[in-house]
Symmetry: C2
Subunit: 405 residues, 2 copies
């Protein structure tokens, strides 16, 4: 008998029928004798509906009120999930974030969890009940509802698993686990049995959409081991945990492709000290996340600069740069959206050289041109032509023999 925290996302509880299926699944674990704590998201689509209604009454809704509004999405699914369990004869009780004692800071719409008072949940578990907790939400110390931002329900599950000293934390999603590459693109991609937090983080920031970085960071910080698995079958998923020695024997453990990036090239900037700083300050002030920066040597008193931004932010980036160019006395922007970022990730890279060489020559042989390069301790990313991205993923996957992992 163990204590399990399970998180089911918006698709898994998307309608009444799916909620009943999730309840049946939960009952199965409880029938095996486990203590089960379940975190659920809002039904898929509900949060967007609520945001649309908020924007219809007020152009720029207040974030405190937005949280008060958005929290109802999960409050609906916790009650319905508890009722569905009752319908199967399983004692269950629902908790909003506030009732679950999930205290956050006051940064509404993207609050950070500060602590969890797990006593009421402990009592209900002891009384033999399945506990259903609203994901994504908490309460500030002045009693206001807060929400945790994108991927917040994963965060709730991981934080609860930590606070409740759970034996297992299972993040249910619509994929079977973490693969060496996207199985829709690379046919012989393998599901990883285990992956380190750091690798998972690099994959998350490289376009692998299984989880948001913040949840993985939180798990790493508090050393909460979790499993990513599918709610539509009983296949074992991928366990995400601290790096262990054997992981380093494998140099590369995954290939990720991010097609939602755009390359921004800035030309004709007067080549004077501080130009680049002013440009990036302008972008940072507009909360635009910049990646893969390359500055070319200035010629004839002007410099060139390239970097990537999320594809949805190009318009915002262009607007943010206008006043900077005016202040600098020059500068032009070109935006290329026909690009993709390909990354290879693995903790083994730290101790193995030659990863870059293997990747670059494999891509070269396949006729894939590299536009920008960026590296971290356990990742190499290259910017390439979007049209060649899937081919490149297959080539890289083969170059590191990931199919035989």
């Amino acid at each position: 008998m163990s204590r399990i925290v399970q998180k089911y996302g918006g698709t898994s509880v998307g309608d009444v029928e799916r909620i009943k299926k999730v309840a049946a699944r939960i009952k199965g674990y409880r029938d095996e004798g486990h203590d089960v704590v379940v975190v659920v998201s809002a039904r898929s689509g509900v949060t967007n509906e609520l945001i649309a209604r908020a924007k219809a009454v007020c152009e720029h809704p207040d974030e405190r009120e937005m949280d008060q509004l958005l929290a109802i999405g999960e409050q609906e699914t916790i009650a319905l999930t508890a009722m569905a369990l009752h319908g199967l004869g399983v004692p269950a009780v629902s908790y909003t974030g506030a009732q679950a004692g999930i205290v956050t800071d006051k940064v509404h719409t993207k609050a950070k969890i500060q602590g969890i008072n797990a006593k009421p949940i402990e009592a209900d578990l002891k009384a033999g009940k399945v506990v259903i907790v609203a994901g994504f939400q908490g309460i500030t110390d002045d009693g206001r509802v807060s929400t945790l931002g994108r991927g917040g329900s994963d965060l709730t599950a991981i934080a609860l698993a930590g606070a409740l000293h759970a034996d297992k934390c299972e993040i249910y999603t619509d994929v079977d686990g973490v693969y060496t590459a996207d199985p829709r693109v690379v046919k012989d991609a393998k599901k990883l049995q285990e992956i380190s937090y750091d690798e998972m983080l690099e994959l998350a920031s490289s376009g692998s959409k299984v989880m948001q970085s913040r949840s993985v960071e939180f798990a790493a910080k508090y050393d909460v081991v979790f499993e990513v698995r599918s709610s539509f079958n009983y296949n074992p998923g991928t366990i995400v945990k601290q790096e262990v020695a054997y992981m380093e024997k494998v140099v590369v453990r995954g290939v990720a492709v991010d097609k939602d990036q755009a390359k921004v090239t800035i030309t004709n900037i007067p080549d004077q000290p501080g130009s680049a700083a002013k440009i990036f300050k302008g972008l940072a002030d507009a909360s635009i996340i910049v990646d893969m920066i390359v500055q070319n040597v200035g010629r004839n008193g002007v410099a060139n600069l390239s970097f990537t931004v999320p594809g949805t932010e190009t318009h915002k980036a262009r607007k943010a740069l206008e006043p900077v160019f005016a202040a600098l006395g020059g500068g032009e922007v070109e935006i290329d959206e026909a690009i993709a970022k390909l990354s290879v990730v693995g903790v083994g890279m730290k101790t193995h050289s030659g990863v870059a060489a293997t990747l670059f020559s494999a891509l070269a042989e396949a006729g894939v041109n590299i536009q920008l390069i960026s590296t971290s301790e356990i990742k190499i990313s290259v910017l390439i032509d979007k049209a060649k991205a899937d081919d490149a993923a297959r080539v890289a996957h083969k170059a590191f023999a990931l199919e035989s992992l």
Copy 2:
């Protein structure tokens, strides 16, 4: 400058456009310098949708979880109303029942308010904010969400007006106020400027659907004066308050017709002591509300009994009586749904005789046959043919000269 509590029902906040209109109305009162506390219901239809979803996951949903679910209806409207006020440049903050410190007992789905900790609301009023409170809901002392049952938002407004020592409590609805009769039936019905709690209660229980009895009872108990008025215009409504001397000068102040009643006649009951008691105990155990009881003298060892029940409960009544008849060794039921209850109400009746005579002879002249009669200190009700109910209302209205009130 005064402190006003206003309550807007589900129709008034039925969609985004109406919420914006309500916000504009609230702004008007605030611009005049008043402190405004607003209680809102769920958008009309939302509560029924949620109940349907609950029944789809579980045949008999748990009442604690039902409250957790239903409370989201008002949580949506408070946030949207606050946002709509922000859109108009008015500082506003929303409160769920729990946040507003509305503590109730643990009788889920029909909880009673036990107390209100109004300190946080007082602080926000002092800070110049409009306070928006979710109607219909509260919190138990063990932190569970509770709901107050039908008409619960009126109750929230009246309780808050009491706790905040408000100068005014305005219940906005889709009618202009309380009339001497239904203006759709009696063309010269007059709006009453004032009415006593007792009269309002008798009208409420006599089919006048302006408000539920519980809210009026609560107002009477705590002496909270309130006004019933329309959110669609600025006409003065009807003020409901303690009886004052001048009210007694008018003998009858209103005629109400209830067409949603059925007459149950029980025949062939063995005429033995305790038969009637067993019959009414059976009905009470099934939570069926019985009114206008008349027992005929028993003949040949059998007795007859007539009473009224709400029209929706006839099937339940029939089922509840089966085991009683079996135990008594006899009894048959006839149900007549072609009836209506007409009531005349007025605190002046207490000191004036002859009201019954005036009513009965007016009805007789108009050819309306009286089937059952029941009276209270300030009300006379008669059961009549449903087809003649509207005519009878006009006749009674004229007999007491209510058009010249």
